[in-house]
């Protein structure tokens, strides 16, 4: 797993939803919804980020908690999509 990708995803969420650069504010396995960090609109923005910044298309049926609800989940999802591409 790429550390650069992990940092990129974590920084995006920290900057856009927690408005801090303090990495201790967000655990890599924290649920973004469970902790009230994003709502449904925020999740759409994250998908937009994945598609535009990370270059991975998210299909409708891939919009599930296992792929998107946490930094590690997003990193795993993006990595596997990149490998499959």
């Amino acid at each position: 797993m790429s550390d650069a990708l992990r940092d990129q995803v974590r920084d995006f969420i920290l900057e856009n939803y927690l408005f801090t650069s303090d990495t201790s504010a967000l655990g890599l396995d924290d649920s973004l919804l469970g902790r009230g960090i994003v709502d449904s609109t925020g999740m759409l923005e994250i998908i937009f980020f994945i598609e535009e910044q990370l270059g991975v298309k998210v299909k409708d049926e891939e919009m599930i908690p296992d792929n998107l609800d946490g930094v590690n989940k997003i990193v795993n999802f993006v990595s596997s999509k990149r490998q499959a591409a």
Partner: protein, 501 residues
């Protein structure tokens, strides 16, 4: 039957095993719900007198319903708080309504901060367990403690049942007072025009502290139907799959809900034949979206509806058969509700002319809590002045043309620009600030803040947003923050918010 509580207790007697509410792994029957309601009543009986306010800090759950109707059954008034708010706002509302008891989710993120913010000598915070598994009802009862059984007091239909806080044009709390008669009459009419029956299974993603969500709760339980709770719409495909797999027959959403379902799911790939109807309220939905929704759900009747908290929830709806012919209309007044479109002098305007929508009927609120001045402005001679601009066509169908006051509507939530301005004004380095709505493809409007920094102040977008996040619900955090040398003003010095967008 004169109250919703009596209607639910009656349903529990007649078909107690029938499911009332499902939440994750838990399903509460009507008997479970009625039992938990009386446990709530027993638990608070010694602490409250008739008419006392009891605040609820509980998210959508069967436990919310038990607490809400339990409080009503005790003759007290429930004040359901917005669980997305921070402790400061919650404490202000609790103090404003004079509640001395708060039934709160012990796991709520603001619980400790709220306890800190409240005067412990005056207000009791009762922590409750919200468990979403099969033993949820027992765990909830246990967290209430053991109390002697009480008899249900007689509750007058015209007495205060609940207060719902809504955003006003000022930062002051604005509490809409609704009576038992308000709640019951609106619930009955809604259940009637939607044709809700005990066999119905409706999915509700809308928060219950919000009048639309509360109307879904009240109307379905009054009719003996089954409500399935959905916590959020972050994964729309998962929601649509649930609609299919669980055989949902009714679904309630706001325009942003349907924008999500239409934009991020393939509705036609699912079998939604059992979805008898969908309802939309909470702001105007663009006409192309109404047509797209209708095309995507060929088996479902689409109800376009209109109302406001001050009218309990609903004022009008468009019969689905007339959707094509009257596209863009919010329909006709509910049975028993009169609607007039008036000019500023109070005269009814001619057909097709725009005026203020005014309404009279059993759903019009009692007034605003502890604000006789505002009440007298809004309710005059029994007529509710909604602040919405509207017109009628030749057949009496209503069309909403906008609002008179400067409110931002983010998704379905009304947000007061002033509330956000007041929070930003407390941030060091801010000399002046103005907040406005800007167009947003998904939510209709998003929030924009323009800040004039003090000379030499080191402000940046992130610190501004972080300050907002600490004091405001997430949906009230400005999406765009800009810095400017000055704000646009009229010659009299009033800030022109509309020029900021």
């Amino acid at each position: 039957m004169t109250t919703l509580v009596a209607a639910i207790e009656d349903a529990a007697r007649r078909h107690g095993a029938a499911p009332a509410l499902s939440w994750h792994q838990a399903t509460w029957s009507y008997a479970d719900l009625a039992g938990a309601m009386s446990r709530v009543r027993d638990a608070i009986a010694a602490k409250v007198n008739a008419g006392d306010r009891v605040a609820l800090l509980l998210r959508n759950s069967p436990q919310f319903a038990a607490a809400f109707y339990g409080v009503l059954g005790a003759g007290a008034a429930a004040v359901p708080l917005n669980v997305q708010e921070r402790a400061g706002v919650l404490a202000r509302q609790i103090e404003h309504c004079g509640a001395r008891l708060v039934l709160a989710d012990a796991a709520h993120v603001e619980f400790a901060a709220l306890r800190e913010a409240l005067d412990g000598a005056r207000v009791t915070l009762l922590p409750l367990e919200l468990v979403d598994s099969a033993n949820g009802c027992e765990a909830f009862g246990a967290s209430l403690g053991v109390h002697p059984a009480t008899a249900a007091p007689a509750v007058g239909a015209e007495s205060l049942a609940c207060i719902i806080y809504t955003s006003g044009t000022t930062g002051r709390p604005k509490g809409v007072m609704l009576s038992h008669a308000n709640l019951l009459s609106n619930a009955r009419i809604i259940a009637s025009y939607l044709g809700i029956e005990p066999a119905d299974k409706v999915m509700c993603p809308l928060p219950f502290h919000f009048s639309y969500g509360m109307s879904v709760l009240n109307s379905n339980l009054a009719a003996g139907a089954h409500i399935v709770l959905e916590d959020n719409l972050a994964f729309p495909q998962v929601v649509v799959k649930r609609l299919q797999d669980e055989g949902i027959t009714g679904f309630a959403g706001v325009p942003a809900t349907f924008a999500l379902l239409l934009g991020r799911t393939q509705l036609k790939d699912f079998n939604l034949a059992r979805l008898r109807y969908v309802t939309q309220a909470g702001g105007a939905m663009p006409r192309p979206q109404i047509q797209a929704l209708r095309a995507a759900l060929p088996h479902s009747r689409v109800f376009i509806m209109y109302g406001q908290t001050e009218a309990t929830a609903r004022l009008s709806f468009l019969p689905p058969d007339e959707l094509d012919e009257k596209l863009g209309s919010v329909g006709l007044p509910l049975p028993g509700v009169e609607i007039e479109i008036r000019d500023p002098a109070g005269h009814v305007v001619p057909e097709a002319e725009v005026g203020e929508l005014c309404a009279r009927g059993p759903n019009v609120m009692m007034g605003y809590w502890d604000d006789a001045t505002l009440t007298a402005q809004v309710v005059r001679d029994g007529w509710l002045h909604t602040g919405d601009l509207a017109h009628r066509d030749g057949e009496g169908y209503l069309y909403i043309d906008g609002r008179e006051v400067e409110m931002i509507k983010v998704g379905a939530f009304r947000v007061s620009p002033q509330e956000i301005e007041e929070v930003l004004a407390t941030l060091p380095g801010v000399q002046e600030v103005a907040v406005t709505g800007m167009p947003d493809a998904l939510l209709g409007q998003a929030i924009k803040a323009v800040i004039v920094p003090r000379e030499g102040a080191a402000l940046d977008v992130m610190s501004v947003k972080a300050h907002c996040r600490a004091h405001l619900a997430n949906y009230k955090i400005p999406k765009v923050v800009e810095f400017a040398a000055e704000l646009p003003r009229t010659s009299s010095g009033k800030v022109q918010r509309y020029k900021l967008a």
